[in-house]
């Protein structure tokens, strides 16, 4: 990519292209711009029209977008009669924290599962079967059910400290169990996408099976699956909201608390905005990585 021809050959190409063709191309570009602008304006007009003309639009505005309530829900209220916690604080101290902890655990457990599933040889047959069973099982059960089973099942089993963990920890466990099954499959796709000639080259140099996996296959596999991994991060970030169901006071519960205190839904708006504010940059970053990867693959002839 850094080997683009410098300014020297450029004029040659320019000179070879007749001016009329250039004007034509510009005209086409302009036309596209005008159409895009007109279409955007039309769509915007419809949205505004629906939002303003709809019979309940004033009530909805008041219930969801009142500046006073948005501020109150976001930062919390401390009047004589009512004390409500801050939705923003709940988002960062519970939801984001849970996401970050679960993410690290998911990445590690999923990698372990994918590697176990990829180890060849008859000796490892039972381990492969266990890994496959785990992945099938936890991909098949809805996350909400896993949450309930963990949060209400583990305490009831009287397993010493395992039964005395916090709701937060149970939430992290449930998220990790389910998402590691998904992410393991992403890793596996990456491992299988590395051509076996890479393993052959590593083994031919005397590296053991494990060394070949560790130093040659996995680094290439992980690099390739970063975009789909980020995609699963976005899902995980959003699904942390499900821990509300097991009684943990997090961002959604805090928003609901504001709602029941003031009969106003602004808290939900704030919560939604917070999620979007976190996931949109992640999504754009994923797109960026994908585009860069495609460009790189084209540059190297698409072989790798």
């Amino acid at each position: 990519m850094g080997l683009q021809p410098s300014s020297a050959p450029a004029p040659l190409i320019e000179a070879g292209r007749p001016p009329p063709a250039r004007r034509k191309m510009l005209r086409g570009e302009k036309r596209g711009l005008i159409i895009a602008a007109a279409s955007s304006l039309a769509v915007l007009a419809v949205i505004i029209l629906v939002a303003v003309i709809a019979p309940g639009s004033r009530e909805v505005q008041q219930a969801f977008f009142s500046p006073h309530h948005l501020k109150g829900a976001a930062l919390g209220t401390h009047s004589k009669d009512h004390v409500t916690p801050s939705v923003v604080a709940a988002f960062f101290t519970v939801t984001v924290k849970m996401f970050l902890i679960a993410e690290v655990l998911v990445l590690a457990l999923a990698l372990f599962l994918a590697v176990v599933r990829s180890i060849p040889g008859p000796v490892f047959f039972p381990f492969r079967v266990l890994a496959i069973a785990y992945i099938d099982f936890f991909r098949g059960i809805p996350l909400l059910l896993v949450m309930f089973i963990i949060a209400f099942g583990l305490p009831g089993m009287q397993l010493g400290f395992v039964s005395r963990l916090s709701q937060f920890t149970y939430g992290v466990i449930a998220l990790t169990l389910v998402y590691s099954a998904y992410v393991a499959e992403v890793y596996r796709a990456g491992i299988e996408s590395v051509h076996e000639s890479q393993t052959a080259a590593a083994r031919a140099l005397g590296l053991s099976r494990w060394q070949a996996l560790r130093h040659v296959v996995l680094p290439q596999a992980i690099r390739r699956v970063i975009p789909p991994l980020l995609n699963d991060f976005i899902g995980l970030q959003k699904d942390t909201a499900l821990v509300a169901a097991i009684g943990l006071v997090e961002v959604v519960r805090t928003a609901q608390a504001y709602g029941t205190t003031f009969f106003n839904f602004a808290g939900l708006t704030v919560a939604a905005a917070l999620f979007v504010a976190i996931t949109i940059p992640l999504a754009r970053f994923t797109d960026f990585l994908l585009v860069r990867q495609q460009r790189k693959m084209r540059a190297s002839g698409g072989v790798r």
């Binding site: 080259a201 083994r203 031919a204 140099l205 005397g206 053991s208 040659v216």
Partner: protein, 260 residues
């Protein structure tokens, strides 16, 4: 490359590799149908024959990248196809270079070369790099040490792959059509490297379609046809007075294609 790497004796007595009745099938495809071959120390053997005749498979068997179905393979007197042989230890003595280079794309040239010396031979990073720099200098790649493979030309990549194999100090080198994936103008630089290896007495088994090169470098040429060595002998004999009709036919086609 002209200067010898070391003064290895040019005597040919000890046996480097011996194949005895080697058979190999892939599912229904019987690729090797009883290969017998003895390679002396410092000998250079070129394997010629049509694609699919078993040249590559034979090399991969010698390096244990394929497990054979029948027969035995000895390297320096030790049976490597015996039960319980330490495969990784055997492979350290045998370097292999592939048609498609198979460099590790996520590592610089230097890391490609030093990975196995560090992980397998147990060298320190410093020692491994010192050795690698010496080899890179000899093969004209010292300025490429920090490049990634995709920034190198095909010829440079293949030379780097040869250096990577040499960094394990192998006694035997297996070269599997190492110039077949190269643009014609890049073939010579790789062939010159191999000539340099022959000059210093490296034992080599070379599968190749470059007949001129084979005639030039080989001590012995083996013509493979449908999984057996149909004919073998010194290059003058194989190329000028082949005994088998199939060998004559094969060489005739090569000549018609303008490759000899």
């Amino acid at each position: 490359m002209r200067a010898p790497i070391d003064e290895r004796p040019q005597t040919r007595n000890a046996e480097a590799v011996r194949l005895e009745g080697v058979h190999k099938s892939f599912d229904d495809l019987h690729v090797l149908k009883g290969i017998d071959l003895s390679v002396a120390d410092h000998e250079v053997i070129c394997l010629i024959g049509a694609s699919g005749s078993g040249k590559s498979t034979m090399l991969r068997c010698v390096n244990l990248l394929e497990t054979i179905d029948a027969g035995r393979i000895f390297v320096e007197g030790e049976e490597i196809t015996a039960e319980g042989v330490d495969v990784n230890r055997i492979r350290q003595r045998i370097g292999i270079v592939f048609q498609a280079f198979n460099l590790f794309p996520h590592m610089t040239v230097m890391r490609n070369i030093t990975l196995a010396p560090i992980k397998v031979r147990g060298l320190s990073r410093h020692d491994a790099e010192t050795e690698a720099i010496e080899l890179l200098r000899r093969f004209g790649l010292e300025d490429k040490r920090d490049e990634y493979p995709d920034r190198l030309s095909g010829g440079q990549q293949q030379r780097a792959a040869i250096v990577r194999a040499l960094a394990m100090n192998p006694d035997i080198m297996l070269l599997d059509e190492v110039t077949s994936a190269l643009d014609p103008e890049l073939v010579a630089e790789v062939l010159n490297v191999i000539r340099g290896l022959a000059e210093i007495g490296m034992t080599m088994l070379i599968a190749t379609h470059e007949m001129g090169f084979a005639r030039d470098i080989a001590d012995r040429v083996c013509f493979l046809e449908a999984g057996v060595i149909l004919e073998q002998g010194p290059p003058e004999q194989i190329f000028t007075d082949p005994q088998s009709a199939r060998t004559r036919q094969f060489l005739q086609r090569i000549i018609e294609a303008g490759r000899l």
